[in-house]
């Protein structure tokens, strides 16, 4: 391998069995399943091929010091790719060759124990991230200063505020000095302040000539930080080139989105134990009452979540979250928000929610759908479902085209500009 290359990925593939990413099974389930399979033909509705390639035939080289953004819709294989490069999971075929210590900001705070003190957690977390004890000894003062925890160093972290907790966790990760840094913003938890810190750290690492792989839905961050972009779709690498071009390609690719009804049986990006499955999503225009993939801006709509419950489920909660094409959250609503309590569901049914008019910006929207139990444990969580397109109507007459990059919501603001010295400077642009 060329000395200059820090990551080489060659025909990488990862096969998942559908449902393998679901939580554990019990012996009873396994036995019941094989018993059922023995008794009758495969259940109707279950896809014939129970395997799915989360990644397939992905090849690329990354040179030392390159900052590469990885984008793509949900379940495109971005996180799987990072997991393989960081050795958390093995590829099914192909290989990845990695040169140098790999560190990642998705591990922030991994292994922190609330009963242990700040100092103890720094050592434990450092060791988990791959630092030697001597190395931590040497960096301890820096880490403590960076985190700003000073006199609380020997206090159990369970007494820390969440801000302090995150600062300590981040300080350890920031001092790992990896030669290859992996950042998965999709998985990164924490507040805006923390995310800003992560981006700052990435910038710093990038300028030191180290390699960065950055997964994000935030196209602006990708364009400002990365020179090169990889676009993944359904496990395949569909574009490898300039970051700005990759972002354009991404936006183009999700443009022709929804059909009136979205069948979700074989949708990939999902988790949950499957006791309830969301089978279909339907968007209905509130004015015409017809199913539609397109809505004019400002039109109310009705969402139908068709579901099937394998057994009787008590007190389920349904949730619907809307995102713009670039992944900004527009809103989130839960069936319990309006005080609705569903005692029990069983078999097939429909959860309906009505959204009164929001003036959404033109462009495609995607959504996440979920059914949980009362405490938020997922029965089903379907991410990245194409939802509807808002027609590119001319919201601002004559002046400019308002798009999702201006903001998810359009609002007409009444502007006035005045100056103290000059009278009659108020030239309002009226439609």
């Amino acid at each position: 391998m060329n000395d200059d290359i820090s990551i080489r990925v060659e025909k990488l593939g990862k096969l998942y069995r559908i449902g393998e990413r679901e939580p554990y099974k019990t012996l009873r389930d396994s036995l019941a399943r094989s018993f059922r399979a023995f008794l009758r033909k495969p259940r109707s509705g279950s896809p014939e091929d129970p395997y799915i390639w989360a990644l397939k035939d992905v090849s690329f080289d990354i040179r030392r010091g390159e900052v590469v953004g990885i984008i793509g819709p949900n379940a495109a294989g971005k996180s799987t790719l990072l997991k393989i490069v960081s050795r958390i999971t093995e590829p099914t075929e192909g290989y990845a060759e990695v040169r140098g210590r790999v560190g990642s900001l998705l591990e922030v705070g991994t292994g922190f124990h609330p009963e242990l003190t700040g100092r103890e957690n720094i050592y434990l977390n450092g060791a988990i991230l791959g630092m030697k004890k001597l190395e931590i000894d040497r960096k301890l003062d820096d880490i403590v200063t960076f985190a700003g925890i000073g006199k609380f160093l020997d206090t159990p972290v369970k007494y820390y505020s969440s801000g302090m907790y995150v600062r300590v966790a981040f300080a350890v990760a920031a001092h790992l000095e990896p030669e290859i840094l992996l950042v998965d913003e999709v998985l990164a938890v924490g507040d805006a302040e923390f995310q800003r810190k992560c981006l700052g750290k990435m910038r710093a690492v990038a300028t030191q000539g180290r390699t960065v792989l950055f997964v994000s839905h935030n196209l602006q961050a990708i364009q400002s930080l990365c020179q090169r972009g990889l676009l993944l779709e359904r496990g395949k690498l569909v574009y490898d080139g300039a970051a700005s071009r990759a972002c354009e390609r991404y936006l183009e690719s999700i443009e022709p989105s929804a059909s009136a009804k979205v069948e979700l049986d074989s949708h990939m990006g999902r988790e949950g134990d499957g006791q309830v499955r969301i089978t279909k999503l339907e968007i209905i225009d509130a004015d015409t009452g017809m199913p539609t993939p397109r809505l004019p801006s400002g039109r109310g709509f009705v969402v139908h979540l068709h579901f099937h419950a394998r057994e009787a489920i008590s007190f389920p909660k349904f949730a619907f979250t809307l995102f713009t094409a670039a992944g900004s959250r527009v809103f989130n609503t839960m069936s319990t928000d309006s005080g609705l309590e569903t005692k029990q569901i069983a078999g097939s049914g429909v959860a309906e929610l009505r959204v009164s008019s929001i003036t959404l910006s033109p462009g495609p929207y995607v959504c996440n759908l979920a059914v949980t139990d009362r405490v938020g444990h997922y029965y089903d969580h379907v991410r990245g479902v194409p939802c509807f397109d808002v027609d590119p109507s001319q919201l601002l007459p004559k002046t400019r085209l308002y798009t999702q990059s201006d903001g998810a919501i359009f609002t007409y603001a009444d502007w006035h500009i005045r100056c103290e010295s000059v009278s009659r400077s108020d030239e309002t642009l009226k439609p």
């Binding site: 998942y16 393998e20 990413r21 554990y24 099974k25 019990t26 012996l27 009873r28 396994s30 997991k83 393989i84 490069v85 960081s86 050795r87 958390i88 999971t89 093995e90 590829p91 099914t92 075929e93 192909g94 290989y95 990845a96 060759e97 990695v98 040169r99 998705l106 591990e107 991994t110 292994g111 124990h113 009963e115 242990l116 103890e120 050592y123 434990l124 060791a127 988990i128 991230l129 791959g130 030697k132 004890k133 159990p156």
Partner: protein, 269 residues
């Protein structure tokens, strides 16, 4: 370094485990620290468990049922067995749930996974040492002087660790896929205690059946401890040899099975 699919059946890479020895140390150290935080009695718990079991055994099995104890005071007879047994039982229970308990780490960072159950073996050694110190005090009290065989105690301890690791590897890997294991383990441990010569002596078993009795690895461990410290029993006979062989078998298959499952831990756990 090349990342690709590993062979289906292989042993964990021991060189890699050695490279991660500091992490092993930190995991064991964390287990010990956390176990006794916010406890009033702290390390006394290491003694309470075997000691109280001994008291109950002595009253019911020793005094009432008059189970023979090889001419030794029943209390020290049972306590000598309870020290390695308690180590085994606690290490196996802890190891079997360890992979699931460390799910947050396993799905986010790479390291040789075998370190997780291995750490459970090491953190239990502190409790063992404390309980063993009480055993020494009891021997002084009863004026029982050990034979030269006491020099074999480190080897017997190693044997206990190997036995606990062998069972712990199997159960921890199984528990990742089948959570039934975590319900079965408390029952298994209880059952196992009475299937092992702890409240009684293996000399109650007819001599020709004893090698078969050795199929329970804890038979070899427990009788080995009694033999080396109290001088009772038949020593390192065929029964002991069978126990050693079964531990080796379980350990080798356990390592293979664990490594086999390791490839999918992060996807399934």
């Amino acid at each position: 370094m090349i990342i690709k699919q590993s062979r289906r059946w292989a042993f964990p890479d021991l060189g890699e485990v050695w490279e991660h020895r500091e992490l092993l140390y930190f995991f064991a150290w964390r287990d010990i620290k956390v176990r006794y935080k916010q406890t009033v009695l702290g390390a006394a718990w290491a003694v309470i468990q075997p000691l109280f079991t001994m008291v109950v055994f002595t009253i019911f099995f020793g005094n009432f049922a008059k189970i023979p104890s090889e001419g030794l005071p029943y209390s020290i007879f049972s306590y000598t067995a309870l020290v390695p047994w308690t180590y085994f039982a606690n290490s196996v229970s802890q190891a079997s749930s360890s992979m699931v308990a460390q799910r947050g780490i396993i799905t986010k960072v790479y390291f040789p996974r075998v370190i997780v159950p291995l750490a459970s073996m090491i953190s239990g050694l502190l409790d063992f040492a404390i309980a063993f110190a009480v055993l020494v005090a009891m021997m002084l009290y009863y004026r029982i002087f050990p034979t030269i065989n006491i020099l074999l105690i480190p080897l017997l301890l190693l044997f206990s660790v190997a036995a606990a690791l062998a069972v712990g590897l199997w159960l921890s890997a199984l528990n990742v896929v089948y959570r039934d294991v975590q319900y079965a383990v408390p029952f298994l441990v209880q059952f196992w205690m009475f299937a092992s010569p702890i409240a009684y002596s293996s000399s109650l078993v007819p001599a020709r059946w004893r090698p078969l009795f050795g199929l329970n690895p804890m038979t070899g461990v427990v009788e080995g401890f009694r033999w080396s410290l109290l001088g009772s029993g038949e020593g390192l006979g065929p029964m002991f040899a069978v126990s050693v062989l079964i531990v080796l078998l379980l350990l080798i298959t356990g390592l293979l099975y664990f490594r086999h499952m390791e490839r999918m831990f992060a996807d399934v756990v």
